[in-house]
Amino acid sequence: MLALPRAHVGQMIGLLEVLEDFKGRVDVAKVADDLILELDDLLPAVDAAELLSFIKVDSGDLILTETGREFLSQDPKVRKKLLNKYVSNLESFKKIMNFIRNQENCEVSKEELLDSLKGEVADFDAESDFSWIIEWGRDSLLLKYDSDDDKIRA
């Protein structure tokens, strides 16, 4: 599976904020309880935050990292810059950005991008992964996507 954040950006930041309220360390079940959420609904945000090194998970505890604290302390504009840095360092996004930058005009269609990933990744869920790639790519200002002309631009 492609290692992508599979929660919305706002959900992940919401989780970091809750962690900060709990002084940076709290049992994951307690967070679910506090937010009246099923654990299953919380885990995508946990995975996303962990993937980006904003939290560590240690025997059921979620721990806000220094990186996570630094990210939280910034305003939305700086957070986008930091996201840009962390998302572009993910193996999945390195692959995607490389592929796009090697095309003419640094642009590809949705189909071209999906085809390139299908060949490389087992267990690839095209529609769902595409929407996560676009959401995080847009939010971190790595990608532009215009669904009218179906072009993804780096």
Partner: protein
């Protein structure tokens, strides 16, 4: 001190009989620099009250005054943010926000600059060309907020702005709205937020207006003097929440 908005003896009914009364002789003043939370059970007429304040609905009786002038039509100094976002699906994020400038006499390039500025401020950069269907709910509400903020209103009315968001997204967006409220460069003079979520109201507002149901009447007004930033899980906050919940139930 002169108030920003005065709601005077507003009653509203759907039919002619008293049993159809939704709001009953409700009077309320909104001051500058005030974040007012309106709480009450569903069906108590909270949303109707917002519609009457902004001039979308004409009250059966009574009147609303904005800076001393009677509100007869949609009030230009106010914006509304809706629970279900109310975005146009066939317009992009940029275009939906630009609608907030309708009727303003800015040049095209001035409009564009203003839209881009608010897009950046609301963390929507990168999504300019996206359509609402491509956005997570939290992002849709950011667009709703941006459209509400861009005409530079004195009063923003928010109708259950976080109720259709999941708990994590709502947590995050509440923080952003509070940051915005504390930023004098963009904050309106006042905010009225309607919510059924008492904790949310106590966490965010300076004053809470509790409305009872059928017909909607003010049961109590209560100042929240907890210093900001507030701890949403503090005992002090829960004490106020309990007091209010007791009045509603």
């Amino acid at each position: 001190m002169a108030s920003l908005v005065d709601i005077q003896n507003v009653s509203h009914a759907f039919g002619k009989s008293r049993s159809d009364l939704i709001l009953d002789k409700l009077s309320l003043s909104i001051n500058e620099n005030e974040f007012v939370g309106v709480v009450g059970p569903s069906g108590c007429g909270k949303s109707t009250l917002l519609r009457i304040i902004i001039g979308l609905t004409k009250p059966t009786d009574g009147a609303v005054y904005y800076r001393g002038e009677r509100v007869e039509d949609i009030c230009k100094g106010m914006s509304m943010v809706f629970q279900t976002f109310a975005l146009f699906p066939w317009l992009t994020v940029f275009e939906n926000i630009e609608l907030g400038l309708q009727g303003k006499s800015f040049s095209k390039s001035e409009k564009r600059a203003r839209v881009l500025k608010i897009i950046e401020f609301m963390g929507l950069s990168g999504f300019e060309e996206a359509y609402p269907r491509e956005l997570a709910r939290g992002m849709k509400q950011r667009v709703g907020l941006a459209r509400g903020l861009i005409p530079d209103p004195e009063l923003i009315l928010m109708d259950e702005p976080f109720s259709s968001l999941d708990a994590l997204t709502a947590t995050h967006l509440r923080e952003e709205v509070l940051d915005l409220w504390l930023d004098p460069s963009v904050a309106p003079e006042a905010v009225i937020m309607v919510t059924h979520n008492v904790e949310e109201a106590v966490y965010m507002a300076d004053r809470i207006v509790i409305i009872t149901s059928r017909p909607g009447k003010i049961a109590k007004e209560l100042e929240v003097t907890l210093p900001r930033p507030r701890d949403p899980r503090s005992n002090e906050l829960y004490k106020i929440v309990d007091e209010i919940t007791g009045l509603i139930a």
